[in-house]
């Protein structure tokens, strides 16, 4: 019997040990997602970007924390690709940040699956005051009349070039309004001037389906339709891939292995910054980064090439903030979003980091303090927003479609499939993801 007592004693001391260890751990995890010290609330905020952006956002967050001493903001950031991988994992694991950065392309994957909080209530009650936002800016964050995200900045992609590079090559700058035919001529001209030193532009045939989207829209179609079906036909895809395949065969754009090698490299090492290519498709809010990095010439943007008498490719794009449905502190999160997008000091730090602020007053505040490349970006955005036309939100499964598109484009680039085969394979499989 005595032996039993000793064993019991040992056992309970063990339990105590385990329990204490556990306690410490739960305190630790509280720090990252819940209440820390008395009355203090911790929210988390995640975004994508480079080191420059991280510095700016940290500065804004510091300001917010100084004004709201009872709220602490946990900061999570990473590159674009990693950002989305991580967000999926976090959301599915139930530990998504309270405030997440969002994008038109992915918002529906999250909103339609119930991972994002409907912000209508906050906006109506004035808790999230968006009175400075023009109607169109608020609408751009809506899905079916529900506000799921608030614009940090509005931006548009353009084709950018460095004046010094063009001058050195003796090639004339492209026209602001140019067609795909002009583009192909210019690309060939560039290649001729560059010789073996580089290529006209990186391969846009497969990286992001958004590139195809412009082309499809110019053909009066789209990647997807309002009711969640495939929005383009085989002919559009064939024309698109054939154009790039021809450019590749003429060595005007890099071969597949070279493209692969440069994939996902940071700004300072990518093909445009290292002058391996002379043109780049880029959200224009990033123009100033390249001008700083390259150290000579000016970065200018022209419109996406278009089809003569065709439709408009442009639609309003931007970077947004959302609150996740799993958040325990939605009110604080809303407060943070309001601060980030409308506070005078915050906006002055933000400037045009992800495009000019969506609010009217906010963007007026910013415009005076801009550097020349940032001003050029704002002008470009104003001009293209003017001509842009509304676009449907991506249905569920856009991730799968994007992978399918990239796989087939790569197969053409490496010479594994003909354009014809790739189009057929794509169309067949796409129909199993988005049934007709």
């Amino acid at each position: 019997m005595k032996k039993n007592y000793i064993s019991m004693l040992l056992f309970f001391s063990l339990i105590l040990l385990v329990a204490c260890g556990g306690n410490e751990e739960s305190n630790g995890s509280k720090d990252s997602s819940g209440e820390g010290e008395a009355g203090e609330v911790q929210i988390s905020f995640s975004w994508w970007g480079d080191t420059g952006r991280h510095d700016k956002y940290n500065e804004i967050i510091d300001l917010f924390e100084a004004e709201n001493p009872n709220i602490k903001v946990d900061r999570q950031f990473g590159g674009w690709d990693d950002y989305w991988d991580r967000l999926t994992t976090q959301v599915s694991g139930g530990n998504a940040p309270d405030v997440v950065s969002m994008h038109q392309f992915y918002v529906s994957d999250y909103a339609r699956r119930g991972a994002l909080h409907n912000l209508n209530e906050f906006v109506e009650s004035g808790e999230l005051d968006l009175s400075d936002f023009p109607e169109s800016a608020i609408d751009s964050g809506k899905i079916d009349d529900n506000i799921y995200m608030v614009a940090k900045g509005i931006t548009m992609p353009g084709f950018v070039y460095n004046t010094a590079v063009f001058d050195e090559l003796g090639v004339e700058y492209p026209d602001f309004n140019w067609t795909w035919d002009n583009f192909i001529d210019k690309a060939n001209e560039l290649k001729e001037a560059m010789g073996d030193d580089g290529w006209a532009i990186g391969d846009l045939s497969g990286g992001q389906i958004n590139d195809l989207r412009y082309y499809a829209r110019q053909n009066g179609q789209d990647v997807f339709t309002e009711d969640g079906k495939l929005g383009f036909d085989a002919q559009v895809l064939t024309d698109w891939w054939e154009m790039w395949d021809q450019l590749r065969q003429d060595d005007v754009i890099p071969d597949a292995a070279t493209s692969n090698e440069y994939e996902g490299l940071p700004l300072e090492a990518n093909m445009f910054a290292t002058k391996k290519v002379a043109l780049l498709k880029l959200p224009v809010n990033q123009m100033y980064l390249y001008e700083e990095q390259m150290g000579e010439g000016e970065i200018h943007a022209v419109r996406h090439p278009h089809i003569e008498n065709g439709g408009t490719g442009e639609y309003v794009e931007g970077a947004y903030l959302s609150i996740t449905e799993a958040s325990q502190h939605k009110e604080e999160a809303a407060k943070f979003i309001e601060f980030f997008t409308t506070n005078e000091e915050a906006v002055k730090i933000f400037k045009t980091e992800q495009g000019p602020p969506a609010g009217t007053e906010a963007s007026n505040l910013v415009i005076e303090e801009l550097t020349p490349p940032e001003q050029r970006a704002v002008e470009f955005i104003q001009e293209t927003v003017e001509i842009s036309e509304p676009a449907p939100y991506a249905p569920e499964g856009i991730n799968q479609i994007e992978t399918l598109y990239a796989d087939n484009a790569e197969a053409i680039a490496f010479g594994q499939k003909t354009v014809e085969q790739a189009v057929e394979d794509f169309m067949n499989e796409a129909k199993s993801i988005w049934p007709e």
């Binding site: 999926t88 597949a256 292995a257 991730n399």
Partner: protein, 296 residues
């Protein structure tokens, strides 16, 4: 019933002490496994409730070309990588077993790659070494050969990962070394007297006597290789490219589950992998009677 009662009475303290680990095993391993088995029969996107679809996920596997591709890539990785790694490990172990001085130092040095070989840093380093302007091509250009970009070429990308696996030979080398030390030295002495060549000694004495160690390393190596993930994920930037040439089974599983929201499908893939590893291991065990010799 009575028997059970007395068993419980005699042993309950033992189980009490086991409890913390039993609880860990159940909550951290058994329950998640059970959940994934259930999900593998459902359509589950991680946000909304799973819906039962029976064996659909499993039957879909065989018509999924990308899945077949990932199986092919993984089989090549396992079937070429593991034997090469073991051969290399055995080769180094044999060299170290020659009675050189400073053995423990060498053993430690050769073991180092295995310690951090699976890390992200090494995978990034690999990208640099085998890149277009990487170390390998610089060396090759010194002797007048122009190398390709090994990582970006679909024909060579997988083999750079196999080289990475071989490079992590340390763990199996240490075990081989221990096995080699067990071989009785008098066998070599008498073989030498009979005039056996070094190769004869190796193939007729060493190899047969260390087959239990080869067997162990083979099983562990195959199980590990089937589950490899990090090198392919980092070297290909998570895509399994170029042209799916490094699309490891686990990488495709990850893509399905976490970037395409098909967790049910991914779970089915995981269970299929478990089955495949179990079968591969069973086959090795079944054949082991024919080629593994236990002394005494």
């Amino acid at each position: 019933m009575g028997k059970f009662k007395s068993f419980w009475k005699d042993n309950w303290i033992g189980y009490l002490f086991l409890a913390p680990w039993m609880i860990g095993l159940v909550t951290l391993t058994a329950i998640p496994m059970g959940a994934s088995l259930y999900f593998s029969f459902t359509n589950y996107d991680m946000f909304s409730a799973p819906t039962w679809i029976g064996l659909d996920n499993y039957t879909q596997l065989f018509s999924d070309e990308k899945w077949l591709e990932s199986v092919r890539v993984t089989l090549i990785y396992v079937l070429i990588g593991v034997p090469l790694q073991l051969t290399f490990a055995l080769f180094i172990a044999t060299l170290l077993n020659k009675g050189i001085s400073g053995l423990s130092l060498y053993r430690a040095i050769y073991y180092v790659p295995s310690l951090f070989g699976g890390s992200v840093a090494i995978a990034i380093l690999w990208r640099q070494i085998f890149g277009g302007n990487g170390l390998i091509n610089n060396l090759l250009s010194n002797i007048g050969i122009e190398g390709t970009n090994w990582i970006s070429n679909p024909n060579t990308a997988l083999y750079t990962l196999i080289v990475l696996m071989i490079w992590q030979f340390g763990a199996s080398m240490v075990i081989f070394l221990a096995g080699l030390k067990q071989v009785p030295i008098e066998l070599y002495e008498s073989a030498k007297m009979d005039g056996a060549s070094p190769w004869k000694q190796f193939s007729k004495i060493t190899l047969p006597l260390i087959t239990p160690v080869v067997f162990f390393n083979l099983v562990m190596g195959i199980i590990g290789a089937f589950q490899a993930f990090t090198p392919a994920y980092i070297v290909s930037g998570g895509t399994g490219g170029p042209l799916n040439s490094t699309l490891f089974y686990t990488l495709y599983l990850y893509q399905k589950g976490f970037t395409q929201f098909s967790m049910g499908y991914a779970s089915a893939m995981a269970w299929f992998l478990l089955l495949a590893i179990a079968i591969a291991t069973a086959i090795i065990f079944a054949t082991s009677k024919k080629w593994v010799y236990y002394q005494g």
